[in-house]
C-alpha cells in the first residue's frame, strides 16, 4: 500500500498575462521601445515580453516621482497617506490568489510558498507601514521627521512582490515617492502591483515602475534626480552601487548576500531542528539571502542529525511549482542554475561528499535536486561563497566557542540560527554571533515589525520595524 498524492494543480485561469508590458510612469502604463522575454523557469515557456527602460524612460519616471513628491505626496497628511496604504494592503489581500499564481509562474517557487508566505507577508508590510504613516513623530526619530524625496529602488528575483513591499511600503508611509525596478526575470507581480496602485487611486507618480536589466538599474543608481537608493541583491552589485553613490548626496541602504551559519548544539530539539534545517536551506529553493546554508553540527550529535536530515529530505516533494503539494520548485533562471552547478562541482572537486535524495526532476525547465555536502571545512568554496540554491554545506564543531568562531569566519553577516533547549546558551551565542538576524529554534521567520539587515558585506541599514522606517526619513542620523 502506498499513499501517492494525485496532482493538485492550482488553476492558472485566475491570471491574465498580457503578451507585452510597458512601464508604469505617472500613474499610466506607457509603451516601451525595446523588449525582452520573461519565462516560466519550470517550463521555459515565454510568459510575456517586458519593456527595457533606457534613459528616456528612467528620466520620465524620476520626473513623475519628483512632481508627485513636490505637489502631492509630501504635502499630504500622514493620515491620508495611511489610507492609501491600507487600501493597497486590502486590495493585495483581495487579489492574493492572482498574485500568488503570477509569482509562482514567473519565479518558479511553489504555490504553497507564494500563497502562504510571500503574498500574505507583502500585504502585512503594507498594513504595518500604513499604521506608521500618521505616527512618524512618535517613532523616536526626532520630533518632526521629514521624507527624503524620491527613492530609487532595485529589487531581486527571489521574493519579487515581498521585496517590493519591503521597499515601497516604508518609503510611501514616510512620504517619499518611488521609482522601482523589479528584477529582469520576475517583473510580473510588480506590474500587477502597478494595477493595484491604479485601483487604489494612488496619486499619479507616487509609485513608478520601470522594468529592465542591470543597465536600467545603473541609470537609476546614477540619476541625479534621486535622493535615496535602496537595493537588495548580490554583494557584487552592492559594492558597485556603494562606489557609485559615494561622491553624491544620496542616502543608501543595501541588503546583500549571506552565508548563514545554522548552529545545532547537542541539546537541540532534534526533530524540530531537522525541520528548521530543511526550512533554512530548501525554502524557496535556497534562493534566500538569509538561507541557513552552513550547517554547524556539534560533533556528538552530528551523525544522528544527518541521519534524520537525510530521511527527512527523502520526503521533500520536488516538481511542478503550481502543484499545491510541491515543496521545492524550479531554479529561477538558467544563469542561476549554472552558478549552483558550478559551485556544487567545486564542492566535489574539493573533496566534500555530495548527497541528494532520490528524486525525478522534470526534463524541461531549470532544476536542481536538494543537496547536502558533508565533510566540508572552512577552506572549501562551498563554505565561503553564497550558492543561492538548494545546497547545504555541513561542518562540525566540538565546543560552543568553536561554533561561534566558525560561524563568524565569513565576510557576510546577515543571519544565523541557534538550536538548543538551553536558554542561557542561546542568549550567549546570540551575543557572540555577528549577524543582523538571529533565529533561536526556528529559521526564516519574517515579520514587518522586525528589522532585517546585515553586518559586514551583507549590507547597510535595516528594513522593517522602526529601524527600517528610519532609512526613509531625515531624522537623527540620516541628514
Amino acid at each position: 500500500m502506498s499513499f501517492e498524492y494525485a496532482p493538485a494543480p492550482e488553476s492558472r485561469a485566475v491570471v491574465s498575462i498580457k503578451p507585452k508590458y510597458g512601464h508604469f510612469i505617472g500613474g499610466k502604463f506607457v509603451a516601451g521601445s525595446k523588449h525582452f522575454p520573461t519565462v516560466n523557469p519550470a517550463t521555459e515557456e515565454v510568459l510575456s515580453q517586458i519593456a527595457l527602460a533606457g534613459k528616456a524612460e528612467v528620466d520620465a519616471a524620476v520626473k513623475a516621482a519628483r512632481k508627485a513628491y513636490t505637489t502631492t505626496w509630501s504635502k499630504m497628511s500622514g493620515k491620508e497617506r495611511g489610507k492609501y496604504l491600507y487600501r493597497i494592503a486590502r486590495i493585495m489581500q483581495e487579489r492574493a490568489r492572482e498574485f500568488a499564481v503570477l509569482e509562482t509562474l514567473d519565479n518558479g517557487k511553489p504555490i504553497r510558498e507564494s500563497r502562504d508566505t510571500d503574498i500574505p507577508l507583502a500585504a502585512a508590510h503594507f498594513f504595518y507601514h500604513a499604521g506608521w504613516a500618521d505616527k512618524l513623530e512618535y517613532a523616536g526619530l526626532g520630533t518632526s521627521p521629514k521624507p527624503l524625496g524620491v527613492a530609487g529602488q532595485i529589487i531581486p528575483w527571489n521574493f519579487p512582490l515581498l521585496m517590493l513591499a519591503w521597499k515601497v511600503a516604508p518609503a510611501l508611509a514616510a512620504g517619499n515617492t518611488v521609482v522601482l525596478k523589479p528584477a529582469e526575470s520576475t517583473p510580473l507581480t510588480a506590474l500587477l502591483f502597478a494595477e493595484v496602485c491604479q485601483q487604489a487611486e494612488l496619486p499619479a507618480g507616487v509609485v513608478n515602475i520601470v522594468t529592465g536589466d542591470g543597465s536600467t538599474g545603473a541609470l537609476i543608481v546614477n540619476h541625479p534626480g534621486i535622493d535615496k537608493i535602496a537595493f537588495t541583491g548580490s554583494t557584487e552589485v552592492g559594492k558597485i552601487i556603494a562606489r557609485a553613490v559615494a561622491p553624491t548626496k544620496k542616502s543608501v541602504t543595501l541588503e546583500l548576500g549571506g552565508k548563514a551559519a545554522n548552529i545545532v548544539f547537542d541539546d537541540a530539539p532534534i526533530d524540530e531542528t531537522v525541520e528548521g534545517i530543511v526550512n533554512g536551506i530548501f525554502f524557496n529553493q535556497g534562493h534566500v539571502c538569509c538561507a541557513g546554508s552552513r550547517l554547524l553540527l556539534q560533533e556528538n550529535v552530528a551523525e544522528e542529525v544527518l541521519h534524520k536530515l537525510k530521511n527527512r529530505m527523502e520526503k521533500i516533494r520536488v516538481g511542478d511549482p503550481m502543484d499545491k503539494n510541491t515543496d521545492v520548485g524550479a531554479i529561477n533562471s538558467k544563469e542561476q542554475l549554472a552558478k549552483i552547478t558550478e559551485l556544487a562541482a567545486a564542492g566535489d572537486a574539493e573533496g566534500a561528499e555530495r548527497w541528494s535524495p532520490a528524486c525525478t526532476l522534470p526534463t524541461k525547465g531549470f532544476w536542481f535536486a536538494p543537496t547536502i555536502f558533508t565533510g566540508v571545512t572552512q577552506a572549501h568554496r562551498i563554505a565561503r561563497e553564497e550558492i543561492f540554491g538548494p545546497v547545504l554545506s555541513v561542518l562540525t564543531f566540538r565546543t560552543p566557542q568553536e561554533a561561534i568562531e566558525k560561524a563568524n569566519n565569513t565576510p557576510f553577516g546577515l543571519s544565523a540560527g541557534i538550536w538548543s533547549e538551553k536558554g542561557s546558551r542561546t542568549l550567549w551565542a546570540s551575543q557572540q554571533l555577528r549577524a543582523g538576524v538571529i533565529w533561536a529554534n526556528t529559521f526564516n521567520k519574517f515579520d514587518p515589525t522586525s528589522p532585517f539587515g546585515g553586518y559586514k558585506e551583507s549590507g547597510w541599514g535595516r528594513e522593517g520595524g522602526r529601524h527600517g522606517l528610519s532609512a526613509y526619513l531625515k531624522g537623527v542620523s540620516h541628514e
Binding site: 500500500m1 502506498s2 499513499f3 502562504d116 530539539p269 503539494n325
Partner: protein, 315 residues
C-alpha cells in the same frame, strides 16, 4: 523481561532513559503539523485515503447509556459500514466498555464479523483511578469476555508527579495479563499531559514497557488527538523502530470527526513514519461520528453530489 534492552526495570534506568530523550520545540512541532495540513489530497488519492481510513476506524461507543441493542447495531455497521455497498471495507475494530464485550463479540460472530476484533477500554477507564488489583481484574474480565484489544489508561497523576516507574510497572503488569491473547493500546490522555515533552516521554515509556499501540486520548478530555500531538507520537514510534526494529502502532482518538481531519492524520503518518504504518495493524483512529462522514464523502466521490445524512445509518 528485557524491555528491548532499553531499561532494566529499575527507577534509575527508566529515569535516565527518559531524561536522555531530546526535547520537543512546541512552535516547531505545531508549525510542521500545520504545514502538513496544507497537503491537498484529491481524486484517486482521496478515494484511497477514505477506504484506508475506514479500515482504521475503531468504531466506538463509550457512554453510560449504552445498551446491548446499540452495541449490536454498532457491530453490524462495523462489518458492513454501508449496507447498500459491499465494496466498503469493514472497520478496524469495535471499541466498547468492558461489560459490552461479550455482547459485541457474540453479535459480530453471528453476523459474519469474525474478522472484526473487539477492543475494550480498561484499567478504570477513563480516569485510571483504581487500585492495581482492580485494574488487573478489569483487564482479565475483558479478555475472558472475548476482547482481542485492550485500551488501557495510564495513571496521569503518577506521570505528572514524576513517578514514571509506577506508570511503567502498571503497563508491564497489564501487558502480562494481555499475554498473547490481546493487543495492548496505552492511552496517555494527552490533554492532561499538556506538553509535547510529556507526550514524547510517555510514548517512549509506554513502548519500552510493552505497549503494542500508543493512543492519544480517552475521548473524554479535550484537547485530544490534535495533529501536533499525533506528530510527536509518530516521531517517537519512528525513532523507536530504528532503535529496536519493532513497529509500534499509533491511535489518535477524540476530535477526529470528518474526512478532512482523518486524511490529515494519514498525511502525518505518510510523511513522518512512512507508508508501512498506513494499515490498521499500525494505525487506528478512535471515533464514532467520523465513519458516517467518510461514507458520505465516498458516496460523493462516486455520485458527484452530497447525499443527505439520512442516506447513512445513524448507528
Amino acid at each position: 523481561m528485557n524491555f528491548y534492552g532499553l531499561v532494566d526495570g529499575s527507577d534509575a534506568s527508566l529515569k535516565s532513559y527518559l531524561n536522555n530523550l531530546s526535547g520537543v520545540d512546541q512552535v516547531g512541532a505545531e508549525a510542521r503539523a500545520a504545514m502538513l495540513a496544507t497537503r491537498s489530497i484529491k481524486t484517486s488519492s482521496k478515494r484511497w485515503a477514505i477506504d484506508t481510513a475506514i479500515t482504521m476506524v475503531d468504531l466506538t461507543t463509550l457512554e453510560g447509556a449504552d445498551t446491548p441493542g446499540k452495541v449490536k447495531a454498532l457491530c453490524t455497521k462495523a462489518v458492513r459500514p454501508d449496507p447498500t455497498d459491499s465494496t466498503v471495507p469493514s472497520v478496524g475494530a469495535v471499541c466498547v466498555y468492558n461489560d459490552m464485550v461479550s455482547v459485541a463479540r457474540t453479535h459480530l460472530d453471528l453476523i459474519g464479523g469474525q474478522h472484526v476484533p473487539v477492543a475494550a477500554v480498561s484499567t478504570a477507564f477513563p480516569s485510571g483511578r483504581a487500585s492495581m488489583a482492580v485494574k488487573i481484574q478489569d483487564t482479565q474480565d475483558a479478555i475472558d469476555a472475548g476482547a482481542a484489544e485492550i485500551d488501557m489508561v495510564i495513571d496521569r497523576g503518577a506521570f505528572l508527579a514524576g513517578r514514571y516507574i509506577d506508570v511503567f510497572n502498571e503497563i508491564v503488569q497489564i501487558k502480562q495479563v494481555c499475554g498473547d491473547k490481546a493487543h495492548l493500546k496505552v492511552i496517555f490522555e494527552t490533554g492532561e499531559l499538556v506538553t509535547y515533552d510529556n507526550v514524547r516521554k510517555a510514548s517512549f515509556l509506554a513502548m519500552a514497557a510493552g505497549a503494542d499501540f500508543i493512543k492519544t486520548s480517552t475521548g473524554k478530555v479535550a484537547p485530544a488527538a490534535t495533529p501536533p500531538v499525533v506528530l510527536v507520537m509518530l516521531e517517537a514510534v519512528r525513532d523507536f523502530y530504528e532503535m529496536t526494529s519493532t513497529r509500534i502502532g499509533v491511535k489518535p482518538a477524540g476530535g477526529i470527526r470528518n474526512t478532512k481531519d482523518a486524511i490529515k492524520q494519514l498525511v502525518l503518518v505518510n510523511e513522518t513514519v512512512g507508508p508501512d504504518w498506513l494499515n490498521p495493524k499500525l494505525f487506528r483512529i478512535g471515533a464514532s461520528a467520523l465513519l458516517n462522514d467518510l461514507l458520505m464523502q465516498r458516496m460523493k466521490m462516486d455520485e458527484g453530489y452530497y447525499s443527505s445524512p439520512q442516506y447513512v445509518t445513524m448507528d
